[in-house]
Every structure is written in C-alpha cells, then in structure tokens.
Amino acid sequence: MASEIYYSGLGDLRYATILAGELGLLLADRASLWRNPAITFYGDARGSGSTVFDVPLAGLDGYDLMTSVLENASTSNTALTDASPAITVARQALQYQISDLANSTDSVGLTAERLAQSMVGSASMRFTEMVANVTDDFTATVGTSGADMTVDDFFDAQFALTQSSVPGPYLAMLYPVQLTDLQNSIRAEAGALQFMPATQEMLNIKGAGFQGMFNGVEIFASSHVPTANAGADSAGGMFGRGAIGYREMSVSVVPGHNGIIQATGPISVEFERDAAGALTKIVGNYFVGVAIIEDGRGVSIITDR
C-alpha cells in the first residue's frame, strides 16, 4: 500500500494546536463581600468636597442612662459622647492593553470588550481585599498564635461580641485554612451544634465566598485575609453590622472621556486608543475607601495560617 493520508503528512493542512471555543477562567479567589449588608455603605463621595468622610457617631438612644435624683435636687449636665471615624476614598485601578492584531484574530472571546467587562470582578475583589485588610485591626483578639483554629476560638469571638452587646447578625471572615481547621474541630463537637453548609440558594443570595453558618454566624472565606505575627498566623475576624464601613465615588465625566463605556456607578471603564501603534488600552478605575467605624463591634481571630 502507498499514498495513505496520515495526519503526520498534513502539516500544512492541520494546525499544531487549536483553541477551544470557550474562554475559561484561571483559578482565583472570586469570593466577594461587595454589597454584603454586614458592611455599612456610607454613600457616594462625588461632589462632596473631600475624599475624607467623617462618620458621625453619637451616644444617644440609651447610651446615657437616666439616674435617680431627689425630688428637689437639681440635675447636672451629662457630656455627650461622640466619635467621628474617617473613611478616606482613594483610587484603585487596573489597566490592560491589547493590540488590534490580537483583538482581531480572537476566536475565543478575549477581546477589548471582554477585558473591560472583567474590570467589575477586579474591582469587587479589590474591595474584598480592602475589607480583609481591616479585619485584623480590631483591638479585641481571640485565638492562640501557632495553634489551629478551633470551635473554641469561634465561640470566644462570638462571646466577646455578645458580652459587648454588639447587635447581630454577625459575619465571620476567615482565611480558608482557618475555615477548614474550624470544620475539623466541629467534627469532634458533641451535642446539637451543627455547621450548616451553604446551599445553592444561599450562594445565589450571598455570593461565592459564603461558606455556611455556624451557631447563627455567617461564615465567609477569603484568601485575602492578612497574616499576623510575622506570617505565622492569619488574622480573620468576626463582626457585627456597623463595625466596618465603606464609601465610594462615582466619576464625573469630563471632556476627553470619549472612550468611556461605563461611568454610571463607582467603577469607570474606558478605552484609550493609540491609533499610531494600533493599540487599545482598557483602563478601569474604582474610587473607594474602607475603614473600621466602631472598633468594639468586631474581634480579630488570630490563629495558625
């Protein structure tokens, strides 16, 4: 036999490799706390006159208690307790640049438009990272450096909040290792305590990072939880509403914003064209600030990383 047609003989008629028709996503933590009701939103800074926003807090409605006085005694003034923690809005940004050649030969959906669309996820995860970077900053701490997180650390955090009269519901933000250590510890727990894993319905409502509930506390896992004790530990946290707040700023469209494709919310995405180089920049901007509003409403959970 001769003249069989083999694949190896069709080098000029076959590709070395081809791409699948659908663009997949590289593994990354995409669990976002954006818009989670446990974190208080303090509005849009646009047109406010400053990037710094003081949150007015006053000791009213039961902070100061009345005291008994004699029938004919004069009362004296009580000093009002107040505080004004600041949230400072700053720019967060991401930029890609794609050539016309790369864009035009695309067969899988990796285009300038797709890169622009991706900016929302990048902003959302930056927000989550910023929240994680304040949860290690509560004055109160529980846990033991170098020791795996146990159900006792979880209870200690919850008890600390309860004993400080922090209104619930509480949210625990943990490093994934802390979460698995906690689950491991719960396995050994006797009695009616049960970890309630997230159902699909709950995930739809609360987002991908929601892991479930334990003892009435929502648990959220994030790889952005920072280290403590020189990297030996993770510093997650548990907090009630009012502990952490954030403020955003929507962008005012200015002359020259010809390539803007999204400017109605806090994220602006625009194209910047370099015709001479046949290149297109995709620039995403997100103006946001995150801060601890009331330190007493949260507790850092510091355990082995």
Partner: protein, 195 residues
C-alpha cells in the same frame, strides 16, 4: 598589546527574571495596643498591628500617606506606634505584579510555581521580647492578666467534656498564662515547636 577581558555573571533581566509569585503587599509600620496581649510562642507577648500604606484602607490617603490612619489608630482607638527602624522588621521583594513587603521573619521560597513562606517564629518572638526590653512596647499592665487567666480557664472548662487534644491544648494554654502571673516566669516553649 593583548588585553584580557573578564566578564561578570549577568543578572537575568526582562520577562525571564525571577520574580516572587505573590500578590503585592504594601509597606507597613508597626503599632501596638496596650490591651492587645496574648499567647504568642507559649508566652504572653504583644500582638502587634500594622499600619499599611494601602490607599483607601483604614484612612490611608490617595498617595499612601498614613497620617489619617495613624491619627485614627492612635487618637481614637488607643494604639501606639512602635518606633523601630524598618530594617529591623521589613523586607521588600520584587513580585510578579509589584513589590511584596514581608516581615523580616517571612522568607519566601518558590518551588515550581508554588510559593511557600518560611517563618522564623523563634526570631520573631525574640524581636517582640526585645521591643518590650527596649521600652518600645510598654510591658503589659498586670491588671490584664486576671482576664487572660479567666478566658483560658473558661476554655479549659468548656473543653473538658470533649477531652482529647483540644482539652490538652486548653490546659497547656492555661498553664502558660498562669505562669506569666508567677514572679520571674521562665520562658515557656513555643506551641509551634512543641507540635
């Protein structure tokens, strides 16, 4: 006249240059809160915090300035800055997506595309003890100790019905906290080292 040239070993540059495969981490300074003490390495030591130069986080301004953040931490929430030379506690590495600032005791090692961070905990514990000895961190107020003992005792009691490793760990922690109450308390072994 012949000339002998001697070359030097080149540093690999460009895209092939070795870069740490970790997300960027900002520069930070250290702070301490007088109420933030706990078991670190088997002894009661300060649990330090960080003021990170991360715009938008905790009052840090658009340029990474930490004046507001420090004012908030110190003035409103009772932290104290730990005035120590950065050379004593921080290192910066060239990361694939930007500079990575790590504590001096975190040493990265890249194995394939996986990065591990080795932590010299014993050296960090020494650093903490030195900060106290040098007066850069004020010693713990002795009145905090009863609360720490109470917490450790409560945990030991709570884990008693469960028993096992958790109860043993709780008892060990209780002993370590109680040891701090004894005069001239000897340094206990690190919990990590005893694993």
């Amino acid at each position: 006249m012949p000339i002998d040239f001697q070359g030097s070993i080149p540093q690999r540059g460009g895209p092939a240059a070795p870069r740490l495969n970790l997300a960027p981490r900002p520069y930070f300074t250290l702070k301490h809160h007088p109420a933030r003490w706990g078991l670190v390495g088997g002894r009661i030591r300060p649990i330090l915090g960080q003021i990170r130069s991360d715009p938008g986080v905790g009052g840090v301004d658009k340029d990474g300035g930490t004046a507001y953040a420090e004012a908030d931490a110190i003035g409103r929430r009772g932290w104290y800055p730990v005035r120590v030379d950065p050379a004593e506690y921080i290192r910066v590495y060239d990361g694939s997506r930007g500079p990575v600032h790590l504590a001096r005791w975190e040493v990265p090692k890249q194995i394939g595309n996986r990065t591990i961070l080795k932590v010299d905990e014993a050296a960090y514990h020494e650093f903490l003890d030195e900060l106290v000895a040098r007066g850069l961190v004020q010693p713990m107020d002795p009145d905090l100790l009863p609360a720490l003992i109470d917490e450790a005792q409560a945990r030991a009691d709570r884990t008693e019905p469960v028993g096992g490793a958790r109860h043993r760990a709780a008892l060990e922690a209780l002993e370590q906290v109680q040891a701090a109450a004894a005069p001239e308390a000897p340094a206990a072994r690190s919990s990590k080292a005893s694993k």
